[in-house]
């Protein structure tokens, strides 16, 4: 059974220079990775005989509008079924033309998750086989989970703000 310290050591031995920072939260190791190296590291985590992160639990985006230069985050949750540990990887991107390499060639399950992240945050996954909207209407012309957009429907007519606490 691997503990978080052993996992971190194993990663640092191989990719120490690509890890920007590390912390532990709720017993899960969280690493920030340089965006250009994320594909290489996830690929290695998947293949590595000791760590063997064979399963991608989740891939998603976060928008931090006040964090200049690193407004958009992509978060990967990996799970090692052999060793039963979880690992969270974060990558930060610039809001102008955010782009990152797709990991569909490593985990097939990333296909729809990357499409969803593109749909809501406008993050471009390079090398994705079919990067188009998945949940929202195809005709939507913005990325709704970016915080500069209001949550409310812009077309509403019958709802009076006074009765909705706004």
């Amino acid at each position: 059974m691997l503990n978080n310290e052993a996992i971190l050591n194993r990663i640092n031995e191989n990719y120490g220079s690509e890890v920007v920072s590390s912390e532990e939260n709720f017993g899960i190791l969280i690493l920030e990775i340089k965006s250009e190296k994320i594909h290489e590291i996830i690929s290695w985590l998947n293949r590595d005989e000791i760590l063997a992160c064979s399963f991608l639990t989740l891939l998603g985006g976060v928008h931090y509008p006040d964090d200049k230069g690193r407004e958009l985050a992509v978060v990967y949750h990996l799970h090692s079924w052999t060793n039963n540990f979880r690992l969270r990887l974060k990558v930060f991107l610039h809001a102008e033309n955010p782009s990152i390499r797709s990991i569909v060639d490593i985990y097939n399950g990333a296909n729809w998750m990357e499409r969803e992240t593109y749909d809501f945050f406008g993050i471009n996954f390079e090398g994705h086989p079919d990067l188009r909207r998945i949940l929202n209407m195809d005709s939507m012309d913005y990325f709704p989970m970016r915080k500069e957009h209001v949550l409310e429907d812009a077309t509403r007519e019958d709802k009076d703000d006074r009765f909705f606490g706004r």
Binding site: L135, N136, E152
Partner: protein, 185 residues
């Protein structure tokens, strides 16, 4: 001869007179085939309405039509997202005349609590609605009340209303094409 509810009749020795419109309306109202378009909790309430406790079949509605082409009444129960909008409109267009629409619950009627970018703010934005049932979700009694109101419309509707200019105008407002049938000319 028994009394026919809500119907103007002339009774005589061994005969009863009424207009054809009224007789057709009566027949239609007592054999409405509903198409449930249920997407969320209002759909669960509608299932209770169909069940033995509330028993929709008392109103000649036990035969739910899951094909829009054979349905008379579209019952929209639940949140309709903008992405689902074109599907709902297509289902409505596939129904043959005469057809009625019952909007069940706050979401179908106005978007409800989902005042958000992805939810249609009321189905009357894409298809015409005859009766709205408020509630979140409405109780089966309320849904039955809505159905009774639909029945009133069905009973008293002129059989030529669907060819009227007003009706054609209403549908063209929604961008729905109406085909002129032979007997309309």
């Amino acid at each position: 001869m028994g009394k026919i509810e809500d119907l103007e009749v002339i009774n005589g020795e061994g005969y009863q007179l009424t207009t054809l419109d009224k007789a057709i309306g009566l027949a239609r109202a007592n054999s409405v085939w509903p198409l449930p378009f249920a997407t969320s909790c209002c759909g669960i309430e509608f299932m209770a309405t169909m069940g033995s406790a509330y028993d929709l079949s008392r109103f000649g509605m036990e035969r739910l039509s899951f094909s829009p082409r054979q349905a008379d009444l579209l019952i929209v129960a639940g949140t309709i997202s903008k992405k689902l909008g074109p599907v709902l409109k297509q289902v409505y267009e596939q129904m043959s005349e005469p057809k009625w629409v019952l909007s069940v619950g706050a979401c179908a009627s106005s978007g409800g609590i989902f005042d958000t970018y992805s939810v249609l703010q009321g189905i009357d934005r894409i298809i015409p609605v005859d009766v709205y049932v408020p509630g979140c979700p409405p109780r089966p009694e309320q849904i039955i009340d809505g159905v009774m109101n639909i029945h009133k419309l069905v009973k008293h509707e002129s059989s030529r209303r669907r060819y009227s200019e007003e009706y054609q105008h209403l549908l063209s407002n929604y961008g729905i094409e109406t085909k002129e049938t032979d007997d309309a000319k």
